[in-house]
């Protein structure tokens, strides 16, 4: 069985897993009773995993958020939503596969789900552009949000991007304008909206799907104005200082809750979302249903007013 662990700080877990495998093999080969020893090792593995994940440093969380086996938008669409119909294109230029979206059902209710989509392997990543949208991706997203609002459906966005794509065509076709328009229009969307950071919340490219009535973060996701690598390159001219930058940027779910930017943290299984995607999905599903039920009781005008108030309160300054 392929190991779920591939990150540097998970090496001790990998080592224990190997010992367990060895023990099992020896047990079968020599037909000896290994039950007691096996249980001991399993317990040790669980304890060590819990220990490591309890004390994740900010940069380690960044690594978990970027884990190649972490569940992506389409995974959640197939596990916690039903009746998904993908809708494509911005109706202007092209269909950007770095953003996916369409009608789906959550606990029987029609909702519009839109999210960044990363690729699972090199081939898919080329197609999905590593989850970095061009302007068309954002324009498709806005089109679908408005479609959802038109028919009174709650809009649920799943955020997982290193950032909006920095390229020639993206700039030519108005990356700034696309982001700016989404951020503005989402603030006035006359329907309940919930945004969830499921992996990487990379700057403006994340925020352009992230203005909502409720903002949630999965426990090991991160949300930041700039990547730790980018921050380190600017401040210390040295991308290898990313650990220091991750520390300084306060980008973990706990940090964002403390800064009053997000409303709730959705718990992940010990070891991260990727070790048990189903359990992660269930926790997310429960949170989404709870928030959706609350928000659907509020009139759209009131939602919009409260949303404006929520954002008006964000920030820290003094007034002498």
């Amino acid at each position: 069985m392929a190991s779920a662990y591939s990150l540097e700080f998970e090496k001790p877990l990998l080592e224990l897993e190997r010992q367990i495998e060895d023990l099992k093999r020896i047990g079968t080969e020599r037909q000896i009773d290994i039950e007691g020893e096996l249980e001991g090792l399993q317990a040790k593995l669980e304890a060590l995993r819990a220990e490591i994940y309890r004390n994740l440093t900010p940069i380690q969380r960044v690594m978990v958020a970027r884990h190649p086996r972490r569940p992506y938008t389409l995974d959640y669409l197939s596990t916690i939503f039903t009746d998904f119909i993908e809708l494509h294109g911005d109706r202007l230029y092209l269909d950007d596969p770095a953003v996916v979206g369409g009608w789906a059902r959550l606990a029987g209710t029609s909702v519009m789900v839109i999210g960044h989509q990363k690729g699972r392997d090199t081939k898919e990543n080329l197609k999905r552009n590593f989850g970095m949208p061009h302007p068309e991706g954002y324009r498709k997203a806005l089109r679908l949000m408005k479609l959802g609002a038109k028919f009174g459906a709650p809009v649920i966005t799943l955020i997982d991007t290193p950032g909006a794509y920095p390229g020639l065509g993206a700039e030519e076709r108005g990356q700034s304008e696309a982001l700016a328009r989404n951020i503005l229009e989402m603030s006035g969307l006359p329907t309940p909206s919930i945004a969830v950071v499921i992996g990487e919340g990379g700057s403006g490219g994340a925020l352009a799907l992230g203005v909502a009535d409720r903002i949630l973060m999965l426990e090991n996701s991160v949300y930041s104005v700039i990547s730790p690598e980018g921050c380190a390159a600017i401040l210390w001219k040295d991308a290898s200082q990313r650990e220091r930058a991750a520390e300084a940027l306060k980008l973990t779910a706990d940090d964002l809750l403390r800064l009053k930017v997000i409303d709730e943290i959705v718990t992940e299984p010990v070891g991260g979302a990727h070790v048990d995607p189903d359990a992660t999905g269930e926790a997310l599903r429960d949170a989404l249903i709870r928030h959706m039920t609350e928000l659907r009781k509020i009139r759209p005008e009131k939602l919009v007013r409260r949303r404006a108030e929520k954002y008006a309160a964000m920030g820290a300054y003094t007034e002498a």
Binding site: P166, G188, L207
Partner: protein, 291 residues
């Protein structure tokens, strides 16, 4: 002395030998665009636009306030807002102290109210000399308040941008200022209050990806650098050199991203005329004839 070295190597200034001898060397300035050397006074009189090649040099926020308001009408608002250090980001407090020394107390933007050709309006001008005009909580709050004031008083909003983007030292709170300012601009959209966005050199990152690109009309100064991603990042990502003129005001005009490129000398007049159009008012001269 560097200034004297220019005289030997570069074009001759259009002043007589005698004039040159009488004028102190530090009164001369050189255009970065074409190398033209002239008296600083002459550059300043031409709004810091090179008389030879038309290159627009950066001018301070005070310059735009003077340019875009009727004399004596500017009243600054919320000058007492100060940045704090919510993330305890290393060296941020020290950086704020030196930024205040260099860029004044307004933080990254001056906000206030004034008149233009007699028309009351709210004006915000970003202060590039304060940490590159970066948007943190103070900048976001001042813009949001100004937009809300425009909404309450039903008077137009004009914002002059000059910024490298979000202020890293306030982390995700800076990012959220993009949403905060946009939500305030959305109010103006909803109730048809005019908003003119003027982009100057440079307008990039989180500022270009929020209020700067949300104007009913978006104008830019010639040659201004405008874009979302930094050129170094784009170059690294695509692994090739960027075309000539990439991310300039003219490039954005060509690609349909802004309404027009307006030379500084026409900025005041264009802004006033646009405001009158969007307020449904006749030009002043015509107005006078009728009454």
């Amino acid at each position: 002395m560097a200034v004297m070295a220019w005289f030997k190597k570069e074009r001759k200034p259009r002043t007589s030998q005698r004039e040159r001898l009488e004028i102190p060397p530090d009164a001369w300035e050189k255009c970065d665009g074409c190398g033209h050397i002239d008296l600083r006074e002459k550059f300043e009189k031409a709004l810091n636009v090179c008389p030879e090649c038309g290159r627009h040099r950066r001018i301070g926020a005070e310059g735009y306030i003077e340019l875009l308001t009727d004399p004596g009408t500017w009243r600054e608002l919320w000058a007492n807002l100060r940045s704090t250090d919510p993330l305890r980001f290393e060296h941020y407090p020290e950086r704020l102290v030196s930024a205040r020394k260099k860029g004044g107390e307004a933080d990254g933007i001056y906000t206030g109210t004034a008149r233009l050709d007699g028309l009351p309006f709210n004006l915000g001008v970003m202060n590039f000399s304060f940490m590159g005009g970066s948007m943190g909580s103070v900048v976001g709050e001042k813009i949001a308040r100004l937009a809300r004031r425009s909404h309450e008083k039903k008077i137009p909003l004009v914002l002059v941008s000059a910024s490298g983007g979000a202020r890293m030292q306030e982390g995700v709170l800076s990012l959220m200022q993009m949403a905060k300012t946009s939500a305030a601009i959305a109010l103006l959209n909803r109730d048809c209050i005019p908003y003119i966005s003027i982009l100057t050199d440079p307008t990039t990152g989180g500022v270009s990806a929020s209020f700067a690109m949300q104007g009913d009309v978006i104008l830019a100064e010639p040659g201004a650098l405008i874009g979302f991603a930094g050129q170094r990042v784009i170059k690294q990502t695509i692994g090739q050199d960027l075309p000539e003129g990439f991310q300039t005001a003219e490039f954005l005009l060509e690609h349909g991203q802004i309404d027009d490129v307006v030379p500084r000398a026409s900025l005041r007049d264009t802004t006033a005329r646009l405001l009158r159009h969007m307020k449904g008012q006749r030009p002043q001269a015509e107005h006078a004839e009728l009454s």
